[in-house]
Structure formats: C-alpha cells, structure tokens
Amino acid sequence: MNILVIVGAIVGAALATLPRIIERWRSPVMRGPEFLFDVAVNPDFHNGAGNDILRRYRGRLFIPYLLEGLIFVALWLAGQWTIANILTAIAVIAIFTRFNYYAARIWAENQARRFERLEETRPASSLVFSLEPRTLLNYTNWHVEGGIILALAAAAMWLASLNPTSHDALMIRKLADNLIVTIYMQVGMLLIKRGIVHSGSAAPADNPEAYLAWRESLRRFSIGVCDVFRLMFALSPIFTIAFILGSARVQMAATAGFIAFMVIAVVYEWRSRFAYLRVARSTKPARLPLLPGAEKSRGPLGFWPALPVLLLKTTNGYALNLASAPVPIAGLYLAGFAVLWFWLVR
C-alpha cells in the first residue's frame, strides 16, 4: 500500500472534518447570544446555565474523533491497513459523527428549553409552502452522474480485461466483489439523495422567503455533499484496482488522482458549507406547529400511518415514524445488502 495514499486519505478526511467541527462548535450561538440553536433565550443565559450546557455539548462533539483514532490504531495493529478499510472506517465514523451531533444538539436544546423566552415559544399557526415541484431530476448534476458512471464502467472494463491465468484469480474475484458492493451502495446513496430532495419544507407566515431560502440552501448543500460521497465511493474500485494491479507508473498516477480528488472535494465542501452557514446565520429560527401524533410521543420511535414524514418533531426532540415509506425501503435495502454480502462471501 502506497503510504502517500494513506496519508492523503487521513489528511483529506481531517481537512474535510475541520469545517464541520468549526460549524458544530459555533452553531449553538451562531445567531447571537439570544439563541442556543433554535431556542430563544435571554442574553445572560450564556453567563449561567448556558455556559455549562455549551461546554458539555462541545465536549460530546469529540467522541467520534476519539473513536476514529482508536479504530485507525486498531487497523494498523491488526495489519488491516488497506485503502478499503480506511475508507469504510471513515464512512462509518462520518455516519456516527452525524448521529452523535444530532443527539448532542437535541440534548442541549432540551436543556436550554427550561430557560426559553416564553414570548418566543408560540409555534406559527400559519404555514407557507412552495408550489414548485421538487424532483430528483431538478437536483441532478450531470457531470457528477457522468463521472460516477465512467468510474464504475472503467473499473468493470479493467476487471473484464484481466486474464485469470496471468493474474491471481482470487484477487480478481475480490476486486469484482468490491465493485458489486460499490454499485449497490450507489443505489443506497441515491435513495438518501432522493430523501433529501423530498424532505419537508414549510415556513412560518411572518418571514417565509428568508426561511424557505435557508431550507433550500440546506437542501442544496446536503445534496452537494451527498454527491461528493457518491463520487468518492464510485472512484474507490478503480483506485483500488490501480493500487493493487497497476504498474509503478499507474500507481503513481492513481495516487496523484486520489490526492487531487480529495483536495477538490475538501475545497468544495468548505466553500459550500460556509456559503450555507452565511444563509443559516441570517435566518431567524421558527417554531412550526407540532403534528397531532407528535404531541403524545414519548420515545424516539412511533407509528403514525396517516403521516408521511420520516422524522416527527416531538415535544422533547424527534421520533422516527416507522410507518413512513422510507422505513420499509431502507429495511428492504439493508436486507438486500445482507443477502448480497452472504452471496459474495459464500
């Protein structure tokens, strides 16, 4: 394994993580001292209880990075220091980091709600929504789609051109398996992208344009990041094949290509994240009315067949609606993944 690639992966992941840490560090107070996230508080709140809540929230943010370090050390010690393992670890930690952030945020908001300004707690009674249809097609970047198809097709053609008698047949089989899993993961990530496109977007009637602009900015930013991840995963089979089976020159070119991709991806993420934050900072948070089922919700799970939403805002956080359409789709997808995995290792 080329040490430059490993360093590139880790440095790239660290650089990509940095703006997210800054954002999550600042996001509770990004709208000034009168807010903690979306909870309206008195400005002196941050000198008292708010200070402790903020400190504990920020401490929780570093749990995934600690875990990430431990995983990398474990991979190194176990001799499993491969590009596939590193990318998988980065992907798993990225998902965990997101959940950890939401958990820390919900905890902080619930703590802050005890000090909430009462005049700001009334939810909006009138909602405004857009009549513009949102389809996956409207949010498709054909350069990205072309890149994904090209990367996967190139990897497939490279594998097809290999002669099993002159190469390690088991290695070819493993690389083909990797390609199949990557294609399946592309389907999963496309479903996630579709979910982002269709995520709900209503605004309070007092300031609808700014609020909807913020929602759209968040949607475009999330889709952009999702596309970067899709491209990264689509490129991973061709890079893996090049690193394992390529000549010294091909390995060098693949290394340069991998580092270049990581740099472009990191710069793109930084730029789009800060552009989104500029919009978010200037948007006053709003309390939207709770839905009928959400008022009675006790835990993080619920079953509301009448409502299409996946995540329901409840009185103390969010609850996953097990009756919404994405839940069975995700279940089927994961079951398919298990079957595929079983078939490949058989």
Binding site: V128, F129, L131, P133, L307, P308
Partner: protein, 130 residues
C-alpha cells in the same frame, strides 16, 4: 409560488389548499400546463395526511382546473372559454348567490356590495391574463 395555510383555521386544510391554487390560477400566476408538486411532496412540506392533499387535488380536478395523470403528477388544465367540470354556467351562480345573500343579510347596502365585488375582482385579476 407560495401558498399560505392556517393550520388552526376553521376551514379544512384541503379546502384552503384548493382555494389557494384556484386563486393563483385565476390570477394567472399558475399558467396552463404548469406542473404542481406531487401529493407526497406537499404532504411532507405541510406535515399533513396524504389524503388531505389528495382531497384538495380531487376538488380541483372535479372543477376542471387541474389534470392529474398517474406517474406524471398534476398540471394546471388548459381552459376553454366556457366553464368546464362539475360547474356548468348555472351552477356557478349558486356560490355567488349564497355569498351575496350573506352580504345582504349582514345589512350592507347594494352600492357597498358592488364596490366590494369590484375591489375583489380587481385584486383577483391583477396580473391575470387578459
């Protein structure tokens, strides 16, 4: 193109949505053939039951204002000069008569009623196609 819904209002949400879309069509802000969001998107945006949005679209469809095609979504219908859908010309007089009766029973003089109608018509037709 934005639509406002009063979640605590006495008027059912599906009728508010249907009325809102009707007004936008009358003003010409929603043009013939223009696509409307799918039932799922609108239900997700407002956090309401899918049937609520489906009822609003059924209402608009029955009045011939939109066309819903399976798999293609809803679009604003192409209108001919004569009234279409369940309301023929005579049927349109019903709601008008009912609204006028309310105004007369409220004791509003005829001249003021005419002014009210003119004002509303002017607002409605502002920006509409001639």
């Amino acid at each position: 193109m934005l639509l406002t819904i009063d979640m605590n209002g006495r008027r059912p949400i599906y009728l508010q949505i249907a009325d809102g879309i009707k007004t936008l069509i009358a003003r010409g802000q929603l043009g013939e053939g223009q696509a409307l969001p799918g039932v799922r998107q609108m239900a997700l945006d407002l956090g309401v039951n899918l049937n609520t949005i489906a009822a609003a679209y059924r209402e608009l469809q029955s009045e011939g204002l939109i066309v819903v095609k399976r798999g293609l979504g809803a679009r604003v219908a192409v209108r001919s000069g004569a009234p279409t859908g369940k309301h023929g010309g005579d049927e349109l007089r019903g709601p008008l008569r009912s609204a006028l009766t309310d105004l007369v029973l409220a004791g509003i003089p005829q001249k003021q009623i005419l002014n009210l109608i003119n004002d509303e018509l002017r607002t409605l037709l502002k920006g509409a196609k001639s």
